[in-house]
């Protein structure tokens, strides 16, 4: 069994107005020194598989097929046996 965390975010070349808005909101609370802020998606799932390599392949597939739109997004993930 694996616990997977997939991080999906907009490509650097794509503007992220939501990130900007959140950055301003934080700054208006008086926090300084935020250089860059980008919003993304987090997908947490448990995979009932045995082999780690195989599981990684599957996660990559899911991302490419469904979870991520490569025109605008990029992703990375972490996988951990539990």
């Amino acid at each position: 069994m694996f616990e997977v965390e997939i991080y999906i975010s907009l490509k650097k070349t794509v503007a992220d107005p939501q990130g900007l808005t959140v950055k301003h909101a934080i700054e208006s609370l008086g926090y300084q020194g935020i250089n860059d802020l980008r919003m993304g998606k987090l997908v947490r799932l448990q995979l009932n598989l045995k082999d780690k390599k195989y599981a990684e392949n599957k996660v990559n597939e899911m991302c490419k097929k469904l979870l991520v739109n490569p025109i605008i997004e990029e992703y990375s993930f972490q996988i951990k046996e539990i």
Binding site: L10, V14, A15, P17, Q18, T21, L66, L67, N69, I71, I72
Partner: protein, 231 residues
């Protein structure tokens, strides 16, 4: 001319499209359930607006895998008419029938209001009842209408006259003030290279009767009918 309206769970403009085709355009029309695996002699498919699968992952991302979509793709590849409106446009993008992707509106809000569109190409199967640079009044209602495509894709769209509608102001000026959602080059609607698949964010089915304040949307349905009847 026989129309089909695809129904995904979460579609919510399916009944409006159905109504306009049947009662205003007065053409035969049927619903097509997303779990179907074959299509019944349709001449034109409408992929309606709404929130297929709640738009829960990304707009259109899940609907694109519905069983019926294989058939829709075949249908389009055979040169038949497909029109995707709003969520339907988003689904066509995800399915790869049209190039590009949709981002969230720059203002980060859902926007529902009447906007003006400029007809950039009046020689298509979907716009032959309009004249070039005609200004149409058609409403939008979406959260993700910020059209995006990379540079080479964009110049390809321009070079092939695939940009059909651009957001403009009442006087036809295309500028950032007339851009409701941040879409690249004010793009509101595009067609594929072959010219048989149209995707547009505005809702022609909401502006096809004078009671609702505008009949400009009907021009699009009438254009398809005209193309079909001429064939």
């Amino acid at each position: 001319m026989k129309f089909g309206v695809i129904v995904f769970p979460g579609s919510n403009c399916d009944q409006d499209c159905f109504y306009v085709v049947k009662d205003v355009l007065q053409q035969p029309v049927e619903y097509v359930w997303h779990k179907e695996t074959h299509l019944n002699n349709f001449d034109c498919l409408i992929i309606p607006g709404g929130f297929s699968y709640g738009d829960y992952l990304r707009t259109g991302a899940i609907a694109r895998f519905a069983p019926i979509m294989k058939e829709v793709i075949n249908f389009a590849n055979r040169g038949r008419f497909v029109i995707g409106i709003c969520n339907g446009f988003q689904i066509l993008l995800e399915a790869g029938l049209l190039p590009g992707a949709m981002l969230r509106n720059v203002g980060l809000h859902f926007i529902c209001k009447h906007v003006y569109l400029k007809v950039r190409n009046d020689k298509t199967s979907f716009t032959n009842q309009c004249y070039k640079n005609q200004i149409l009044n058609i409403p939008i209602a979406h959260n993700e209408g910020n059209y995006y495509i990379d540079e080479s894709g964009l110049s390809e769209l321009h070079n092939n006259n695939q940009i059909i509608f651009q957001y403009c102001d009442r006087d036809g000026l295309i500028n950032k003030y007339a851009n409701p959602n941040g879409a690249l080059d004010n793009i509101a609607g595009i067609i594929n290279r072959a010219g048989n698949v149209l995707g547009m964010m505005p809702h022609p089915e909401r502006s096809s009767e004078s009671e609702l304040g505008s009949t400009d949307g009907l021009l699009i349905f009438k254009s398809i009918l005209e193309t079909f009847n001429k064939r």
